[in-house]
């Protein structure tokens, strides 16, 4: 980890840039109403990197895309608010949203292979975005595109700007996507699994570059990912989502060194680590995430949790439960002492396993 103050834990102070309150997103489908996001609240400070972590179907991508109005459709229903610099995004008009999209909040998508228009030169795709938000003549918009491509690490940017997406590798395409996202100097960058489709060495390069760009431009980043390993490198704060809810939220150090929710223990326990003896197989969280249309009552993680007890039939609120960590929130009824004892499956090792004394049914 670097010595950058922003990366060492404490979120940058000041007014939040983005405040999401009790966001609910549901979709009417043929199988019934699917509640994809169930009361998500968080704040994003300027220049901060917030990682939203969770497995497929946890609602993390829907949350991120809803902030840009990209989940809008006739069968979608939204509640709650997301305030960004005086604009409420969740119920904003299309025209209001269009001014925000790309210019104020930009998005990097998961699959760089399909996220660029295959029949347009990349330069044209970047220029299109710049000219949508700024009255810049062609030549200047093109110049800026070259600079952007250069900045995200595309060699020979001046020549490459006239290439088509298929002439780039996956990693290079994701760099193009990042250049596109940065083209109007947004204050918030939403990256939805930006490295999932890339191989590991490229992942590290891309993430490194994103951190550097945050330092240079001061843009806050929401990094949506299922991979806690990715998060450890660059996040300031982490929100862990499970089945449409945030189950735990805190600084990087709080989540990694003092995790409160059993689901977080499970996630941490299933990371392959080089500083430990290699297990025969990596531990996994037993069971499957609940179907979005048919969720368990109370704590959604209850059916997969070995530490479940009677109280779990009630939904635990997301609140600070630890002295001295006011920004460390979680949704678990266990007491801090019980948590500390149960999460340590082997000395110094956090995981999600039923221990003999944890006899809750």
């Amino acid at each position: 980890m670097s010595t950058d103050p922003a990366a060492t834990g404490a979120p940058p102070s000041g007014e939040p840039l983005l405040t999401v309150e009790d966001l609910q997103v549901s979709f009417a489908t043929e199988e019934g109403v699917v509640q994809a996001v169930e009361g998500v609240s968080f704040e994003l400070a300027p220049g901060e990197i917030l990682a939203v972590v969770g497995e497929s179907g946890s609602g993390k991508s829907v949350t991120a895309m809803t902030l840009m109005g990209l989940t809008r459709s006739p069968n979608a229903d939204f509640e709650g608010t997301a305030h960004y610099k005086g604009t409420e995004l969740v119920h904003a008009s299309e025209d209001q949203l269009r001014r925000v999209r790309g210019a104020e909040i930009a998005m990097i998508f998961q699959d760089p292979m399909t996220s660029l228009n295959p029949v347009q030169k990349i330069g044209r795709q970047i220029v299109e975005q710049i000219q949508e938000h700024e009255a810049l003549p062609d030549q200047q918009a093109r110049e800026r595109s070259v600079e952007l491509l250069d900045r995200v690490g595309i060699p020979r940017a001046r020549e490459r700007i006239d290439n088509y997406p298929f002439e780039f590798s996956g990693g290079m395409r994701q760099r193009v996507m990042i250049a596109l996202a940065l083209s109007c100097n947004p204050s918030v960058l939403i990256a939805d699994e930006p490295t999932t489709a890339l191989d590991v060495t490229i992942q590290a390069q891309i993430l490194q570059r994103m951190r550097e760009l945050r330092d240079e431009t001061g843009a806050a980043i929401i990094l949506v990912t299922h991979d806690l390993g990715v998060v450890a490198d660059i996040a300031d704060r982490i929100a862990v989502m499970y089945s449409g809810r945030i189950v735990e939220q805190g600084t990087l150090d709080e989540i990694f060194y003092d995790p409160q929710h059993p689901y977080t223990w499970g996630l941490l326990g299933s990371i392959a680590r080089v500083d430990r003896p290699r297990p025969d197989r990596l531990p996994a969280i037993a069971g499957l995430p609940p179907s979005l249309a048919n969720r368990p009552e109370g704590c959604h993680f209850r059916p997969r949790c070995p530490h479940e007890f009677g109280k779990c039939m009630e939904v635990p609120p997301l609140e600070a439960r630890l002295d001295g960590q006011p920004a460390h929130l979680d949704r678990c009824w266990l007491t801090p002492d019980e948590k500390r004892e149960r999460r340590e499956v082997r000395p110094g090792e956090i995981g999600l396993e039923a221990k003999s004394q944890a006899g809750a049914s």
Binding site: L70, R101, G102, F109, T114, S115, V119, E128, Q129, F166
Partner: protein
Amino acid sequence: MGRFIIRRLFQMVFVMFAVSVLTFFIFNVIPNGDPAVRMAGKNPTETQIEAIRKEWGFDDNLIVQYVTMMKKVFTGDLVSYFTQLPVGEEIIKGLPRTLSLAIGAAILWMFVAICFGLYSAMRAGKFADRFLTIVALIGISLPVFWIGALMNYYLGYKAGLFPNGGYVELTKDPVDWAYHLILPWTALAILFIGFYSRVLRSNILDTINEDYVRTARAKGLSERQVMVRHVLRNSMIPIVTLWGLDFGAVVGGGAILTETVFDLQGVGQYAAEAVGQLDVPPVLATTLFAAFFIVLLNAIVDIVYAYLDPRIRLQ
């Protein structure tokens, strides 16, 4: 590109050679096809027939006859057995008529199909979409000779809104030219409108869910810009391909029925009459004409396709 064109030229020569051989021999083996007997008129004597045979070279070996005829094709000396009119001149006379019909109809069907397809896709699943689906299916099912004859009868003959067939040259009177062609264009376009609008609708619905369309929205583009610049442009690629191929096919014979119903006297109608009389020289020439346009449009479509979709490389 240069190599591509050369290869295509060779291909064109080969296709036209094969077409000419097949056409020539088929028309020489079908029963009742002896041109000398047919040319000799009613109740000819054996000597008269024999004389015609000698004069026209019908007694030669078929291969020799083929070579002679192909020579005439290239020198432009080909003459109809029955009318004695030069075939080349007849085709040149019919060409502007056929092209007028085909180009006008192609523009009409493309334009209307884009409107219908786009509207249908944007209203997918709703009443307007279902209604247009039914209209398209009806359009696809209407045979040109039937709808053409109905239009001619009701709109032309009975209501007197349109001329009863015929053709006026574009250079003579452009308005009258278009006036005479409105019904034929419509009759010919109906089938293609139905077909193209369905294809376009499904292409748009596929494209609209592409990740790059989501990227376009995330850029802050308006829905209209997203549709035109990203969705429509990409959905049009297969349609443009079809358009070129169908245009070639229409010029090369697909308009025969329309030309005949509306008496436009184009190349197609000429070919149809020649076939009816088993008149080999015009049949051969119009078949070569058709093959030429089809192969030519195929090559053009490939070039345009590579331009529209840079992932395609000509080789």
